[in-house]
């Protein structure tokens, strides 16, 4: 087992004006499941491939344990990778696919068979060992790809969106399987996904990347409660946090007709801030105070209901840059949702507000 360290690791494709990965610094602890998450093009796959040795490192260093692997070829790094599209060898049986790396390494046949059988047992692949990949279902192929990694007992597992080719139900199932398997084997794992739910549910820690920069790296729960900046606030959590551009007034920020208390030192003299509140962090108020919202759409999900609406004088800021206006969103009790067209009043729960600098997007206060 080993730790993994990215130290100022940089990848700059020739011809691109700016680096795809710019001075990435991150430490992955021994046995940890680290998830890299971000929108497409953020460089998460590139950084994983840099660790695998499939992508050149143009600056900085990468360590596995104490070994500097920056310029080592993939086979000398002792890493195993699970590809997004599995990349199984179509001309080999499942057993041969799983044992291929060991065969190349010159491991004895009995030993290979033993380890393949063990891995097959863990992954319920025993009945399929003699089949070719084309005779397997998508989920089985995914497990073979996992098996190929497990059999090698490498220092680091690399997983590049391994679930994105599975259907929704299988994805949820497999995601818990992978997480529990990783914990059982205790192998340091770097897992890349664009799906923030996957990141939140699987990761010991989650690193959010954007445009080649690390935005935040923390445990999922902490990141959910303390996003460092507007991007992370908007990216982590589903449905997404409401992010509003609000004026600062005496005693706090002005949310419609309601003043959310924020301490003066947290605001640091700003006149405008980006205010964030998660949909579940608001209560319907009965006394007519709070943010006045006209309900446009009610989504009833059974246990919960989400209400979408417009609030006078309150605008969602455009975090994803698509220019579309976003409605304000709140979660309410699923058994007693308001009706469409109704006007409701919402009050933020105390201590669940997030305040960000309107220009830099950085978090203000705790």
């Amino acid at each position: 087992m080993a730790t993994v360290t990215f130290k100022d690791a940089t990848r700059h494709y020739p011809g691109n004006p700016k680096p795809t990965i710019d001075k990435l610094n991150i430490d992955i602890n021994d046995g940890e499941l680290m998830v890299f998450v971000g929108p497409s093009g953020c460089g998460k796959s590139t950084s994983l491939r840099m660790l695998a040795g499939l992508e050149e490192v143009n600056g900085g260093q990468i360590f596995i344990g104490d070994r500097d692997v920056t310029n080592l070829s993939p086979k000398d790094r002792d890493v195993a990778m699970v590809f997004q599209n599995y990349a199984l060898y179509p001309h080999m049986s499942v057993a041969d696919n799983m044992g291929f790396a060991l065969k190349i390494a010159g491991v004895a046949k009995d030993e290979i068979k033993k380890r393949v059988d063990e891995a097959a047992k863990i992954l319920d692949l025993a009945p399929y060992l003699e089949r070719k990949p084309k005779a397997l279902s998508g989920g089985q192929r995914q497990r073979v790809a996992m098996g190929r990694a497990i059999v090698r007992s490498p220092q680091v597992f690399l997983m590049d969106e391994p679930l994105s080719n599975l259907d929704a139900k299988l994805r949820v199932q497999t995601r818990t399987q992978i997480a529990s398997l990783q914990r059982r084997l205790g192998v340091t794992t770097l897992y890349v996904t664009h799906d923030q739910t996957e990141a939140m549910t699987m990761g010991d820690r989650v690193a959010v990347l954007k445009d080649g920069y690390l935005m935040q790296c923390d445990a999922p729960r902490y990141m959910y409660d303390h996003p460092n900046n507007v991007f992370v606030a908007g990216f982590i959590g589903s449905p997404a946090m409401n992010l509003l551009d609000l004026p600062v007034v005496d005693g706090g920020v002005k949310l419609g007709g309601y003043v959310v208390p924020v301490s003066r030192e947290d605001l640091g003299g700003a006149t405008h801030v980006t205010y964030g509140i998660r949909p579940e962090d608001m209560d319907l108020s009965t006394d007519g105070t709070g943010l006045e919202l006209v309900v446009d759409v009610v989504e009833e999900l059974g246990a919960d209901a989400y209400i979408y609406g417009t609030a006078a004088g309150v605008n969602q800021i455009d975090t994803d840059g698509d220019g579309g206006s976003k409605p304000f969103l709140a979660r309410v009790d699923g058994r007693r949702p308001p009706k469409r067209g109704e006007t409701v009043h919402l009050k933020p729960k105390p201590n669940h507000s997030h305040v960000f600098n309107a220009d830099s997007g950085q978090r203000l206060g705790k």
Binding site: G53, K75, M81, Y86, H91, A101, L136
Partner: protein, 283 residues
Amino acid sequence: MAKKTYARGHRSPLASFGIHATLVVASFIAVFPIVWIILTSFKPKASIRNLKLIDNPTLENYTALLNNTDFLRWFSNSVIVAIFTMIVGIAMAATAGFAISRYNFPGKRPLMWTFLITQMFPVAILIVPIYSIMSAFNLINTHASLVIAYCTVAVPFCTWMLKGYFDTIPKDLDEAATVDGLGPFGVFWRVVLPLARPGLAVTMFYTFLTAWGEVAYASAFLNTNDKFTLAYGLQTFVPRPPTLPVWELLTPAAVLITVPAGLVFFFAQKHLVAGLTAGGTKG
């Protein structure tokens, strides 16, 4: 009266007759010369030019060909040249095709164009310059000269073919194999080549045929009877007019000459299977 209509997949008797008649005529045109040659090869020398299809069948033409001429020597010469052309040509074309398919290097596009352009010159133009090159290397009247000359024809074409085939094999497999511990040659040999079997089979058959039936280079580079290849040697059975061709030797030779090509094709077609890469990657 209502016009009779036919269900989908059915046709009128007249259309059916027309289609079948066309097919019968076309098949006859394709098959007849071959059948005629085979039948003629079994006719005795005296009646070889009469029009009877079967006339006292005999093997005497074959025994004469095998015992009284250099046929067997030419045959083995041809086999040697064709097999070496196939091995050398495919080795070069496959490695070149792999490099072009998988790596970026300066001059890659010009190289590909060069391969195409060399194909555009007719043999008649190339024969003299290649002759002087061969003679400069003392290769005239050797089989090596033919193997090299045939490779100049076969390698560029096969490189294009194989490059195209390698492009269809997902690069992810290369990367998986690299992470599993293979170097570039290992990836080529153990992952890409096994998956390129259909492409290899086609190009191998093509290189074999290139060498097997070629006359122009053979007649220019070879000058002693013991080095002749089949296609060239058989020309000695066709004297200058007005003397008539030696049909009793040409026909059995023509039959025997198809056997190795047929064998190579038989082995090649077994590998012409679709979907070798199925199941490797999703989508």
